[in-house]
């Protein structure tokens, strides 16, 4: 066996692995070599020259970050020559701009300052360089070029970590500047304000504008928690001063985001501290909401609920739980519905986003969640993204995808009618007609089967229903599919071959697949495709629905659904009911499935539902066909809303209960990859607001069912005992990082990949599915299609993001994205005010003529209450999942 190679650093010998740099070996062995530009995990640029060391025999000092160790190398890291070079380097940097620390935001957290101290650079022999470039300020980021030391960390993270490619080096020599395209200000450039550059900046050149003069590094306490926006579950540090969140940074070295955040996560926290937050309960008196005590509000609520229950029966009451609140709170909400009210009428907004995923994947695999972990993207050879504008809706996951493509580890197929930003990275982009997803998936499978590219062993050993599938897709030859989908036959064939020949291949999808009247069919088609090529249950493969809310996965997991208890245990199963009755100390839990959100709204309209208890949801903006929603809610005898703001829905409530935001509570969220992560209380809630679980518990106590928990941890312990997939998850384990469910025992490591070896349901089930057109198609009166979705800068009904000045500045209002061809046909110019009609309503918004849109289809973001896209959308439901068809309806437009 060959002798292990060794290197001598400062007189001590160390062994190393091939390719390790001097710096890595030193770091590993506790030798502190200072760095400025070095970014762990990225290719070293060797630019700052601070980490130079002396290598015996080398002509010059070498940068330790970029120099691989060689056998018998002799290194000195703090020799006189090294120190002399570092000192002069620091001196040059200190003279290179306005490095006055007194009012600098980074004072006390500045690497240059630390280095000057460490190397005792007391005097600077050079005059301070003139400020060559003016400081640039926008709502979110301040770029002070006089403090920039051109280390290039910002450029590296923008290009190599987030892959936003917004900034690079401009000019040369001492005139060098970090520039956006054309040296434009950031807010006129391709910058998406993720702030990764700000976090990477070692000095005060890039700082968060909203945090300016809010507190100094040594005055703040940092609390790690989980992001309250989308389902990626980014870990973030809240910077707290005087019970206020003054800044947010991504938590370093922790999955899934490893310090990355998006613009909402990093800058969208204003809502927490807003004076508009609800601080006291409100009771409607004589048509208007008046401040009330908790005692009055809770007693009144309890009394009204008891009355309605006794008058109309328990199923006349419904509960909207929430994808924003914690797992513990969802558990308590569904327990309240089932054990206290006695109804299964509990649901939440997953109905509007991934109900079809849960139904479809449960039918195919036996479990309705993302099969693989986010980190698995790095193992994929091919990534198929469809119906997901990932860069805007799940930015941090999109960075994984972009990195995979950029590094050459994976090819990317995008199937989307819109020219979404990911298409720039795609090897192949298929632009299908709206609502034709089953057709293109069948087309791909037709090619894969007819060319025998599928994994026959996998199909034989692990699945059932292949023959039926084969028979059904037979007629979906590329020419036939091309006619339906508008995708060329060639591209169908190309995509099929690429998908089948690159294994493992993963599929990512979101609302573009699920929010259809054929949503469940669409999801099953994705499952078919993945199983056909043996891509389920393998690292780097999978069918991966991207969940849109921080805890939509957890709300489903903990039973905020009308048909299951926590852990997807069916309410119809007597054994399960018996277990729950025993655990909860009640008898006669309801055995039939309750109403879904959409059905509850319908029930309210019809007068069958008398009371609705809504936690943290805003159906007056989020649900389809709002005009009818409004009628329904007004028809109720009792509407209780528990929220952090007086939302549009809260405004029409009879009782409003103020709750705590994510920053004000302990608990857990489960992210899109089924990973349970801690939420930590960083500040006290405003006024008299309470955590959601506390409110429900107190209400329950008043209704005669004792709910006594000391804290959220106690709720988790109860969840453990009745929920097999969460049985092994405890706060103490989560302190060391999240756990993927199923995690059935305290010593179980969690399950990042589902269906390994066997599917949850045993064999994977192929479903033979025929293409069905959307529920509403265009005609003479409504000649265009409308599709809806998100923009990067806002979230859902904007309850949170509208509170942020910066986000509002970047995305101030609703728009109608229309293709240049349609714009020409209708003589529409950029910025024209348009009126958009559907059979259900009309809204007005500005035209945004863009080649992101495809001819014949306009796009409207659904965030804006003033021009609510959901006044137009079609409430037609998927027959199985009851998800509405948000993604397709027929409209007409005219200029105002």
């Amino acid at each position: 066996m060959a002798r292990k190679d060794t290197i001598t650093i400062n007189g001590d010998e160390f062994s190393f692995n091939e390719g390790e740099t001097i710096l890595q070996i030193a770091n590993r062995n506790g030798i502190d070599i200072p760095t400025l530009c070095y970014m762990k995990g990225l290719n070293p640029t060797g630019a700052c020259r601070i980490c130079v060391v002396e290598v015996k025999g080398a002509r010059n000092l070498v940068p330790s970050c970029a120099t691989p160790a060689m056998n018998n190398m002799v290194v000195e890291t703090e020799s006189e020559r090294v120190i002399k070079s570092r000192k002069l380097n620091i001196e040059l940097l200190l003279a290179s701009g306005r490095h006055n620390c007194i009012t600098c935001e980074k004072n006390g957290d500045c690497r240059l300052q630390d280095l000057a101290y460490r190397y005792k650079v007391e005097t600077v022999r050079f005059p301070e360089s003139e400020t060559r470039y003016e400081t640039e300020t926008n709502a979110l980021i301040i770029r002070d070029f006089s403090r920039c030391i051109l280390c290039g960390r910002c450029v590296q993270v923008c290009n190599e970590v987030q892959v936003n490619r917004a900034i690079s080096y401009g000019y040369r020599g001492s005139a060098s500047k970090i520039v956006a395209v054309g040296d434009l200000p950031l807010n006129e450039s391709d910058c998406v304000f993720c702030g990764e550059c700000v976090q990477a900046c070692p000095v005060g050149a890039l700082t968060e504008n909203p945090s300016r003069f809010q507190g100094r590094p040594w005055e703040v306490e940092k609390v790690q928690t989980t992001c309250p926006y989308c389902g990626v579950g980014c870990q973030m540090n809240l910077h707290i001063k005087d019970n206020k969140v003054i800044k947010i940074t991504g938590t370093e070295d922790v999955a899934p985001n490893f310090a990355s955040l998006c613009v909402k996560g990093r800058f969208g926290y204003d809502f927490i501290n807003k004076p508009e937050r609800l601080t006291v309960p409100l009771i409607k008196e004589a048509g208007s909401l008046k401040n009330a005590s908790w005692d009055d509000a809770l007693s009144l609520t309890a009394k009204r609920l008891v009355d309605i229950k006794s008058k109309y029966g328990p199923d006349s009451i419904g509960i909207f739980s929430s994808a924003k609140i914690t797992n513990e709170e969802n558990y308590i909400a569904q327990k309240f519905a089932r054990a206290v009210i006695g109804t299964n009428n509990v649901d939440h907004c997953a109905r509007l986003c991934h109900a079809s995923t849960v139904a479809g994947l449960a039918a195919a695999f036996g479990s309705g969640a993302m099969t693989n972990s986010v980190a698995d993207i790095e193992k994929s050879k091919l990534i198929l993204v469809t119906g997901s504008n990932t860069t805007e809706a799940h930015p941090v996951i999109s960075s994984y995808i972009k990195r995979a493509v950029e590094s050459g580890s994976a090819k990317l197929i995008v199937v989307d009618p819109r020219r979404i930003p990911l298409t720039k990275f795609a090897t192949l982009w298929l632009r299908q007609n709206l609502g034709t997803d089953v057709a293109w998936a069948n087309g791909m499978m037709h090619v894969i089967i007819s060319e025998a590219l599928y994994d026959s062993n996998y199909v034989k050993d692990r699945t059932e229903g292949f023959e039926e599938l084969k028979k059904t897709v037979e007629k979906y030859d590329p020419a036939f599919v091309s006619k339906i989908t508008g995708i060329s036959a060639d591209d169908i064939i190309k995509a099929a071959r690429m998908y089948a020949n690159s294994r493992p291949a993963s599929i990512f999808f979101a609302m573009g697949i699920t929010q259809h009247s054929t949503g469940t069919d669409n999801v099953k088609s994705m499952a078919n495709l993945a199983m056909l090529c043996g891509n389920v249950g393998v690292p780097g493969g999978g069918v991966n629905p991207l969940r849109g809310q921080n805890n939509v996965q957890g709300a489903c997991d903990l039973g905020a659904l009308p048909n299951v208890f926590s852990g997807y245990q069916p309410v119809g199963d007597p054994a399960v009911r018996e277990k729950m009755e025993k655990a909860w100390g009640v008898n006669g839990l309801p055995e039939t499935s309750g109403l879904t959100i959409t059905e509850m709204v319908k029930g309210a309209q019809d007068g069958k539902l008398k009371a609705l208890y809504i936690i943290g949801e805003n159906p007056l903006v989020s649900d389809p066909d709002i005009n009818h929603v409004e009628q329904g809610l007004k028809n109720l005898e009792l509407l209780v809303v528990q929220d952090i703001f007086l939302s549009d829905t809260a405004k029409i409530a009879d009782i409003v209960l103020p709750s705590a935001s994510f920053a004000e509570k302990d608990g857990t969220f489960t992210n899109t990859e089924r990973k349970v992560q801690l939420v930590r209380k960083a500040i006290d809630p405003p006024g008299k607001a309470k955590q959601d679980w506390e409110i429900i518990c107190e209400l329950s106590n008043r209704m005669g069912y004792a709910m006594e928990y000391t804290d959220s941890k106690a709720i988790m312990e109860e969840m453990n005992s009745v929920t097999p997939s969460y049985a092994g998850i405890s706060y103490s384990r989560l302190e060391n990082g999240g756990l993927h469910w199923p995690c059935p025992a305290p010593d179980h490591p969690g399950t990042p990949i589902l269906h390994v070896g066997t599917f949850t349901r045993g064999l994977g089930q192929f479903h033979a599915i025929e293409y069905i057109p959307p529920a509403e198609v265009t005609d003479e009166d409504y000649p265009l299609y409308l599709t809806t979705g998100r923009v990067l800068y806002h979230f859902h009904t904007r309850t949170m993001t509208m509170q942020s000045e910066g986000l509002n500045e970047l995305s101030p209002e609703c728009f109608v994205e229309i293709s240049p061809q349609d714009a020409a046909d209708y003589n529409i110019k950029q910025g024209d005010l348009l009126r958009v009609h559907s059979r259900r309503g009309e809204i007005q918004a500005m035209a945004r003529v863009s080649d992101q849109a495809i001819k014949g289809t306009i796009f409207i973001p659904f965030h804006f209450a003033k021009a609510a896209a959901n006044r137009l959308t079609n409430p037609a439901l998927d027959p199985i999942a009851k998800i509405p068809e948000f993604k397709v309806c027929a409209i007409r437009i005219e200029k105002v």
């Binding site: 070079s85 040059l92 940097l93 051109l150 020599g173 001492s174 005139a175 060098s176």
Partner: protein, 617 residues
């Protein structure tokens, strides 16, 4: 153009081309290199064509526009063949006379001949002119014989015979052996043995091997590579094809700066004709060799001549050098093995194959074989491009080829190696041009810049000039280079402005050390050379600036005043006329005076005075 698909076909076509040409047919050869173009050679060519037409002589007299002849000082240069009559500074108004007198009546026009500066003798033939006589123009000489846009011209003088021999007689490894034995060292500055580099690249593992020609010549005043690419692109391409064969490459790039439009054009024409006749593409000369060359145009950043920055730029990224431990031969463009040589190095390859290792190694010194082309500029009579055998000493180049210093002034120093080179003082003028010896005296071979300085050259000003260039061309990546060169420039500027302080020289030395020690690429590592070498040889001049606030060479404007000598002034008014700021007053035929407050020290008055009355103090 016919397909040339075998060595035999090449020889047949060569015979055909030569056979169709009458060696005695008169031919007007007009230099169309960049220097002569600047002097208006395109108009001269046009005028010749017009006049020939007028005389009805288009068929009987050929006109050939060639690449640079090297003697740029005397452009536009015209050579009348077959007799080789050399005319200098030809203008369109001379063309009719040349046709009627020289071509039709065999008379030499005295006025257009070169005059020996010492003997006053008129010299008729190019080869007799001292500028050319001392040279050994084995690489550069063909420039004057061919039209660079004509592949026929190149084939007629033996072009592609080296390639033919290579593919017929030698294995790739044997070619590498030949190049190694020849001692050919890279002409781009580093002087790395080319054969060794080729061998490492050949042996490096990769999916694909690349060869690159570095034509990103960026030194101020240097234009050797430009003139070769403009004047004889096929010699470079032939070298690259031979290199591709030896290394096992099927794809090559020429990285040439966009500011060299003629070089880009001529090399693109040459590549197109090679593709047409099959000397580039698949199965070259029936040997099974596949090779293609693409031209990539650079944006003119000096640093892109550095190999790793060049590769970055070629790949479409920001042209910045990358870590040095990654060797280009193993991981160059697209991370594949890549062999990069400069224009002149490639052009040496066919010569070595054709004439043999013994012939080649007979030229030059122990460690530096062959010839080197220099761009001889500055305070020297015969500026231009000169090709000399390695080992010739600088004094010979300056005096025998360069014709000495104008106005009989004193030689002070010669700067070699481009901006990162150094100055060599007059006392060391017998140092031979040799990679190692130039380094010994604190300068370097570089790519072949040679700037002659007389006693009116200020060394602080010289150092400042080069630092100004380097601070602007530093890519800005390494702190030491970006900030250090800027500070060095500022200190030099202060010294030449009379604001120098005690300790500035030491601070310059410390900065020089730090920049050289701490910078990634050769640009930074050698950037202090102009400062260090001027301090080394002319420290007293720095001290005069700092301590006495005096510029001994009379160059640094802040430290000099112009005045008019009472004795010599005739009151002619010539100085007053040229003064751009009306600083000179005085009546006709009376003593003139200069107002020092208005004077901008441009020196126009001094140049205009015929009586040596304007003095610098």
């Amino acid at each position: 153009m016919k397909r040339i698909d075998s060595p035999k076909k090449l020889e047949d076509i060569r015979k055909e081309i030569i056979g169709a040409r009458d060696p005695d047919k008169p031919c007007i050869t007009i230099c169309s290199g960049t220097g002569c173009r600047a002097f208006g050679s395109e108009n001269v060519t046009e005028s010749f064509r017009k006049e020939l037409k007028k005389h009805g002589l288009e068929e009987t007299i050929d006109v050939r526009t060639t690449g640079c002849h090297g003697f740029c000082e005397k452009g536009p240069v015209v050579v009348i063949n077959p007799h080789g009559i050399f005319y200098q500074k030809v203008s369109p108004k001379d063309t009719n006379e040349i046709i009627t007198e020289t071509l039709l009546n065999n008379k030499v026009i005295e006025r257009l001949l070169y005059t020996h500066p010492e003997t006053g003798q008129k010299i008729v033939k190019e080869s007799e002119i001292p500028f050319y006589k001392g040279q050994m123009r084995v690489i550069f000489g063909n420039n004057g014989k061919i039209d660079p846009t004509s592949i026929d011209d190149y084939i007629a003088i033996g072009g592609y015979s080296a390639l033919s021999i290579t593919l017929t007689d030698y294995s790739p490894v044997e070619i590498i052996e030949i190049i190694k034995k020849s001692g050919l060292r890279g002409r781009g500055g580093g002087g790395f043995p080319a054969g060794v580099k080729w061998e490492s690249c050949r042996n490096a593992a990769g999916n694909k091997h690349y060869v690159i020609c570095n034509a990103d010549e960026g030194d101020p005043g240097a234009y050797m590579d430009r003139s070769l690419l403009e004047g004889n692109p096929h010699s470079v391409l032939e070298g690259m094809i031979i290199g591709a064969y030896a290394i096992g490459s099927d794809e090559g790039y020429i990285y040439v700066r966009n500011e060299y439009p003629l070089a880009v054009r001529n090399v693109e024409i040459a590549i197109a004709s090679l593709k047409e006749c099959g000397l580039l593409g698949e199965n070259i000369l029936g040997s099974g060799l596949n090779f293609d060359i693409k031209v990539s145009r650079g944006g003119g950043a000096f640093v892109c001549g550095e190999s790793s920055a060049l590769v970055a730029s070629l790949e479409g990224r920001v042209g910045e050098p990358r870590a040095k431990h990654i060797h280009r031969v193993e991981s160059g463009i697209w991370d594949q093995p890549t062999n990069l040589n400069n224009v002149e190095t490639w052009a040496n390859v066919p010569l070595i194959i054709n004439k043999g290792v013994d012939w080649y190694t007979s030229i030059g010194t122990e460690g530096s074989k062959g010839t080197k082309i220099f761009s001889l500029v500055g305070k020297v009579n015969n500026t231009g491009l000169v090709e000399v055998p390695m080992g010739m000493n600088i004094k010979e180049i300056v005096y025998e080829i360069g014709g000495g210093i104008p106005e009989g002034r004193k030689l002070k120093a010669v700067q070699t190696g481009g901006p990162s080179g150094g100055v060599i003082p007059e006392s060391l003028m017998d140092v031979p041009v040799d990679f190692d010896r130039l380094t010994d005296v604190g300068s370097m071979m570089g790519s072949g810049g040679m700037i002659v300085m007389d006693d009116k050259t200020c060394m602080v000003d010289t150092a400042k000039y080069f630092m100004n260039f380097l601070r602007g061309e530093s890519c800005g990546k390494c702190t030491t280079c970006r900030e250090g060169t800027q500070r060095m420039y500022e200190i030099l500027e202060a010294i030449s402005n009379g604001d120098g302080k005690e300790g500035d020289i030491e601070l310059l030395e410390e900065l020089s050390w730090a920049v050289a020690e701490g910078s990634l690429c050769a640009l930074g590592q050698t950037a202090p050379n102009p400062v260090l070498s001027t301090i080394r040889y002319f420290r007293d001049e720095y001290e005069a600036h700092i301590k006495e606030k005096r510029c001994p060479a009379g160059v640094c404007k802040a430290l000099i005043t112009y005045s008019i000598d009472e004795e010599n002034c005739t009151g002619c008014g010539a100085c007053k006329k040229v003064c751009p700021v009306e600083a000179i007053t005085g009546e006709k035929k009376e003593l003139h005076t200069i107002d020092p407050d208005k004077c901008i020290r441009c020196g126009a008055c001094m140049a205009a005075c015929n009586f040596d009355a304007v003095k610098v103090v």
